[in-house]
Symmetry: C2
Subunit: 458 residues, 2 copies
């Protein structure tokens, strides 16, 4: 007997995963929508390598990022690492290319990032980010545009109503300065950011422990979180808190301007909330900050967050490059849509299955398939001439909508038997107008078409 080769157990690394067709199809269609929105706003795509010199990445995120980095020495002896986010590569990219590209630069960057995170709670070690930024401008127009893009993204993805929560780091700084707490801003805002997670008392306790403030001071900062109501009402409340602080007033005026302009740009009032307790990424944000929650799934947290930064690329260039941007959490959104039952259960984007009923007629089946594709109708000719029942079972499992069955009798009469796989309904259509009639039966969706939630079969 010959040696039996050893079977290697097929498996992915802990914290990594394969993406199966149904999910991948939804992800691709979401990405198509996302790119469409970015482009419609003048943002242009760019890409950076997965691997960078460790020197470029290290110490640029949090200490946690450094610990979680996939870092190694390559075959050429270089100290390299996989990117852990898209922000640091963007900073390096823009420092390197701003001269050639010119500013303002509106770019979007879609790609995987890698973090050796704790894999509990459904976190993965490889996930996709979709960042967009306008760099080299301090204009309020760029702040507004960021907000409008967030609005249009969530609108296009069709995940129900949502709320964009806006705040300003200038206002936060003003309030802290007014209370004589400017020096303790970092631990105070880090604690404040946890309000949704650990509640008011938890935040107060952490502020006292980590920032060394007393209960009264913690209370002053926490009073920010009590401001509630319409955007106008919250802005009025904030005005009182920064009455003596110039920076805070400047931030407040700008925030008001952004909100008014966003409305003029078509963002519904009901989708905008001023949320004075949002601080976000303490390291580089300096102006407006955003978070976006889905009204039906608030507890999954923000699906699109960002803000304005004063100088992203200062570590790599002396050119000052202020900007504003945000990041769409595509994988989180995909999980949310799954939870809301908004993902189609199909694993094919082609709606039509052609049974290989009479293998002698292969050329005719293939010719018909080509004709349907030319008319924009995706289809698959089955590879195996099995019994019809087995073929239809396969088609149903894959999520095809319609199956075409043609034997001797049908070919001779110039007709085609059409079965709706979900219902089992049958009808006969004439071959000479088949593409047209199928188009009508299928309604809008087509192979390669935009994401539609109503095209699920099976």
């Amino acid at each position: 007997m010959a040696d039996t080769p050893r079977i290697i157990q097929p498996r992915t690394l802990k914290g990594f995963r394969d993406i199966l067709p149904a999910t991948m199809l939804a992800r691709e269609e979401l990405l198509e929508q996302v790119r469409g929105v970015f482009r419609a706003h003048g943002y242009c795509p760019f890409d950076t390598p997965a691997l960078e010199y460790t020197e470029i990445l290290l110490g640029k995120g949090s200490a946690e990022n450094d610990r979680q980095m996939y870092r190694f020495t390559d075959n050429g002896g270089r100290d390299v690492a996989l990117r852990f986010d898209l922000t640091v590569p963007l900073a390096r990219f823009i420092a390197q290319h701003a001269g050639g590209l010119g500013v303002p630069f509106r770019g979007y960057h879609i790609g995987s990032v890698w973090r050796g995170e704790n894999t509990q709670r459904g976190r993965y070690r490889e996930f996709m980010q979709c960042d967009f930024d306008a760099i080299g401008t301090e204009s309020v127009v760029a702040d507004v545009e960021t907000l409008v893009v967030i609005n249009d993204l969530l609108d296009a993805l069709g995940v129900g109503e949502f709320t964009i929560r806006i705040n300003s780091r200038e206002i936060l700084a003003g309030v802290l300065e007014g209370a004589g707490l400017a020096e303790r801003a970092v631990p105070l805002l880090r604690a404040l950011d946890k309000l949704d997670k650990i509640g008011r008392d938890g935040v107060a306790t952490e502020m006292m422990a980590e920032a060394g403030v007393d209960a009264g001071q913690a209370d002053t900062v926490l009073s920010l979180a009590e401001l509630d109501g319409s955007a106008g009402e919250v802005l009025a409340g904030l005005a009182e808190l920064v009455v003596d602080n110039e920076g805070g007033q400047r931030g407040l005026a700008r925030l008001g301007e952004i909100i008014a302009a966003a409305k003029a740009a078509g963002v519904a009032d009901s989708r905008l909330a001023v949320a004075p307790a949002i601080a976000r990424g303490l390291d580089y944000y300096t102006g407006v900050v955003f978070e976006t929650t889905l009204d039906e799934l608030e507890d999954i947290g923000s699906v699109c967050s960002g803000g304005r930064y004063d100088d992203l690329a200062g570590l790599y260039t002396k050119q000052r490059l202020p900007g504003v941007g945000a990041s769409l959490g595509l994988d989180r959104l995909l999980a949310a849509m799954d939870e809301l039952g908004q993902l189609p259960a199909r694993s094919t984007a082609a709606p039509v299955f052609i049974a290989l009923f009479d293998p002698e007629r292969l050329h005719e089946y293939l010719g018909l398939a080509a004709e349907l594709r030319r008319a924009g109708i995706g289809c698959e000719v089955h590879t195996e001439a099995k019994k019809l029942g087995a073929q239809l079972k396969y088609a149903d499992r894959r999520g095809f909508q319609l199956a075409l069955v043609m034997g001797e009798r049908e070919w001779e009469r110039g007709i085609c038997q059409v079965r709706t796989l979900a219902s089992g309904d049958k009808c006969e259509l004439e071959l000479k107008t088949l593409a047209q009639d199928l188009g009508r039966l299928l309604g809008e969706p087509r192979a390669g078409s935009r994401f539609t939630t109503d095209s699920t079969a099976s």
Copy 2:
């Protein structure tokens, strides 16, 4: 003076590169076309992680692949590596999921791969592959479908005429067997594969040196390369060479069947060539093999290659999984299109630029932009209220097609000044029918639209 922070030189690793907007825009649009063709043929997307256990990848490609692998020990002490192709991950994927997915499985897989290659001759260490495969079937239908997909891909990408060269490993094996050279197939076919590169004499010399054959035997193998003419003529020539060999005859019959069926499926005669000297990837191909060259740029080599394999996943499962597939060399194609002058020079997919002429009117500009986007016309409101000349210069550099200029006078009269950036032409349009009129001026292409080569500005 405060410390001046050290500036880290912004740079990418040797062999890696950033992809700038104009190229990235073209790549994204090509990928959109590619996905559309895959889907129209019933292929569904899936994805696998960039990182795998080294055990999964090592020794599955060539020894060169092993040497070039980015391999390291992760923070959890695992021996891991970045994938160097998409074929090995596909094999692991299908071994792991065939049960759940069912066969036949038609899948496509688009992603980056990493190889620490010699970086001469414009090779990169990170590049993108687009693979598609039909697995779990021995049907000739799957072979034909692969060929039709290759045809439709190249057609959709609009890179001019092309030739799909087809051969059969069964015929090659038959010819070698007939000449008593079956045992020396590997070095002989490896040498034969170099015919285009080193010529007839070079191949003969290599065959004698590496396979230990004499000049007459080398000649017999090389006679394959002399068969020329239409597909029918070459098939007839091959028939003579395998007249005594059953396997060779089987391969020949199947090849004829594939070609006839491809024609029935609409592949033009002129695009199909039988090329008896093509052997390809000696390790796993067992049946039909394909290569595709662009008629205008033959010297860049094959842009889409593949073939049939008997058992892809044998290393990871006892289930036999034969299949057929091919890989589109997207980056090579992109370079070719660049050479043919088929890449647009724009770095925006939005065709319309709105000058921020009168900052007091920001709300009106933003409102107009929202209206145009709703009508499917991508646009950007400029962020800086600079002099008009500077704004138009920026717009021209980015590759916008039209610039809209509106000041006091225009807003009051309800009109808009429209400048064609490439030509400098001006006209006036009424605001109330602007979206419609701009649509006409712009012709077909839209933000987020399909790839069109005639929409270049500047």
